[in-house]
């Protein structure tokens, strides 16, 4: 099976999952008690306004017709009006989403790259003090929830030591670079504005590390254990016995097979990251979609909730596909065996 077929299959599978997800979201939102039309205009609006709106929102039609309208609108980017902010949810998302993405991506980087590097170092120096230190830290990283790290970091680095700012994405004194991607760090780099870049990074560090630490610990543990397992495998002994230098073995022949379980987990870890982002954003007052989403949830802003979940679901699925692609590149057995030449 060629790579393209593999990709197409995954994509189709994901589309089905997204559709299924949208149905579930839709059903949940319609089960909710309360009249969406009434909630949209408020308690004091006259009845005929509510009736009109109800017609407009297709609330009188059978459920599957409603779903059709809802899906159609969603695909066009129209998620309705937010009860809380009183403007199109789509606009809200456009404003808040990049902030969360910036945070999640940096956390994911810390997660993946940091975890792999730490785990590798730990395995190379197995049972020596470096290894033991990393193992203890990783363990603590795994058992501590992100929001507790966030609070600890906020307390320690933000408030007590005052090394890093505790609020916002950019110092008020610096102008924000023009929005291209919405990620301040990227935008400032593109604009050549290094002051803004470093400032934004400085604001990002604390929440990103709090967010990514748990995942990094997890990755480090898996990498370390896979590597030390693989070290005892016959093919490593064979490669050594044939005269291949130790450094070459460590850096390539051992590393590649050891990465496979770790990378496979990256997708799930990213899911955890997205979930934990909700809490971390709250704690750091980060203006992202998660904080927006929590507010929507606490205030029962249906349109916003549905949109946020759908978007997050899609992001997660896309990330999963990318992770699957990387894993397939690392482990040839997956791609070629599925339907292939064996």
């Amino acid at each position: 099976m060629s790579f393209i077929t593999f990709l197409v299959r995954r994509a189709i599978h994901s589309i089905f999952v997204v559709l299924g997800l949208s149905i579930v979201i839709f059903i949940i939102s319609r089960i909710m008690p309360g009249d969406p039309a009434r909630m949209a205009v408020g308690a004091r609006a006259p009845e005929w306004v509510v009736d009109n709106l109800r017609e407009q929102m297709h609330l009188t039609e059978p459920l599957h017709i409603q779903y059709y309208y809802w899906l159609r609108d969603a695909l066009r980017g129209d998620f309705g009006i937010s009860l809380v902010t009183r403007r199109p949810v789509a606009d809200d998302i456009k404003e808040f989403f990049p902030a969360t993405m910036e945070l999640a991506l940096l956390a994911g980087l810390i997660n993946g790259a940091g975890g792999i590097i730490l785990g590798t170092i730990s395995a190379w120096h197995k049972d020596k003090w470096v290894d033991n230190v990393v193992r203890v830290i990783s363990y603590l990283g795994v058992v501590t929830p992100s929001f507790i790290f966030a609070i600890l970091f906020l307390l320690l680095f933000g408030m007590t030591l005052e090394w890093m700012p505790t609020m916002g994405r950019l110092s008020p004194s610096l102008p924000r670079p023009s929005i291209i991607t919405g990620l301040i760090t990227v935008d400032s780099l593109l604009a050549g504005d290094f002051a803004a870049f470093f400032d934004a990074l400085w604001h990002l560090i604390l929440p990103a590390v709090a967010l990514g630490l748990g995942g990094m610990a997890q990755e480090a543990r898996i990498t370390r254990s896979t590597m030390s397992d693989n070290l005892t495998k016959d093919y490593i002994a064979a490669e050594r016995s044939l005269g291949i230098p130790e450094s070459v073995i460590m850096r390539s022949f051992l590393l590649k097979p050891s990465l496979i379980p770790t990378v496979s987990i990256l997708g799930l870890d990213f899911a955890a990251t997205l979930g934990n982002a909700f809490l971390v954003e709250l704690i750091f007052n980060w203006p992202g979609i998660s904080r927006y989403g929590i507010n929507a949830m606490l205030r029962k802003d249906l349109n916003a909730i549905s949109a946020v979940i759908l978007i997050l679901g899609v992001v997660f699925i896309v990330v999963n596909i990318m992770v699957d692609i990387i894993v397939a590149r690392l482990d040839p057995r997956i791609q070629l065996r599925a339907g292939g030449s064996e």
Binding site: F16, I148, F278, M297, L312, I317
Partner: protein, 294 residues
């Protein structure tokens, strides 16, 4: 994979003793077990053991509000004058209770669905069940829990419901993987040939061989459920104030950082302690079961 074992009860006793020996060799596992037992003890006997049990419910004492840790209040008091230590003991009740209830709700259906899907691998039954689990797994777990919580009234019961709803697919997945491999084993085929009922095959042949991974996962999951539960409480969707949920306490105290740090920090440490205990225990179980197969 897990080797199939016949389970006569005399052999079971010996297995138990051997397993305990293996388990007890690892100091960390013992530490985990001890921690879990300690927390359970504190939770169960909280009204007797806590220095100020009445502080766990509606109680006000402004005279002693916001006191730093001292002999009388080892972990300090919060802004209304309640003893943090005692509240933590009661908080363990919520954490453990939530873990137990969620797992009880989640494991049976998840396992059954996984068994059915795994045994009928390749049929429409398998596809349907697995697609449904895919959908639930498509959303980051915490997000889904938050969303479900939000459409219901925020309270502990609904939080447990939400977490249960998004947790069962993991067990279905786990058992599915095990069952679909095991069903190709010889002992299943022989049971089929002698005409054993589906029920017997699923529950008396396949299931016993899945027990170890399921138990390991349950132990580790206790930690995760407690984390998610405290996260939900933190946000305001779980244990409602004035009840002493650990996450709720952390959230309440976060407003008073950094001056009255003890209000948030001690409950945080308590959460870490519980999760650490369950993780060590779960790891110990996993090592114990793995050594068996080696």
């Amino acid at each position: 994979m897990v080797p199939a074992k016949p389970l006569a009860s005399a052999k079971r006793m010996e297995n138990l003793r051997r397993n305990w020996y293996k388990f007890s060799r690892n100091r960390m596992s013992i530490l985990g077990l001890f921690t879990v037992l300690l927390v359970t003890f504190l939770a169960v006997f909280a009204p007797l053991v806590a220095p100020h049990p009445e502080h766990a419910s509606a109680f006000v004492d402004f005279a002693n509000a916001s006191r730093p840790p001292s002999l009388e209040y080892p972990f300090g008091t919060d802004v209304i004058g309640r003893d943090i230590l005692s509240r933590i003991f009661f908080g363990f009740r919520f954490s453990l209770g939530m873990g137990v209830i969620v797992l009880s709700l989640v494991v049976p259906p998840g396992v059954v669905l996984g068994l059915v899907a795994g045994y009928n691998q390749g049929t429409w039954l398998d596809t349907v069940i697995m697609r449904i689990t895919d959908i639930f797994l498509a959303v980051p777990s915490l997000v889904l829990a938050l969303a479900i919580c939000s459409v219901l009234t925020p309270n502990l019961f609904n939080a447990m419901l939400a977490v249960s709803l998004m947790w069962w697919p993991w067990y279905a997945r786990l058992v599915y993987g095990l069952a679909s491999t095991l069903r190709n084993e010889f002992f299943v085929a022989s049971a089929e040939t002698i005409g054993a009922s589906k029920f017997h095959i699923l529950f008396r042949e396949i299931l016993p061989n899945c027990i170890s991974p399921i138990f390991t996962k349950m132990s580790l999951d206790m930690g995760w459920v407690i984390i998610i539960g405290s996260a939900l409480s933190f946000v305001g969707l779980g244990v409602q104030p004035p009840r002493p949920g650990l996450g709720t306490m952390v959230s309440d105290g976060s407003r008073y950082l950094p001056e009255q740090w003890w209000i948030s920090i001690f409950p945080s440490l308590a959460i870490v302690l519980v999760v650490l205990g369950f993780n060590l225990l779960g790891d110990g179980l996993r090592d114990m079961f793995a050594a068996e197969e080696a």
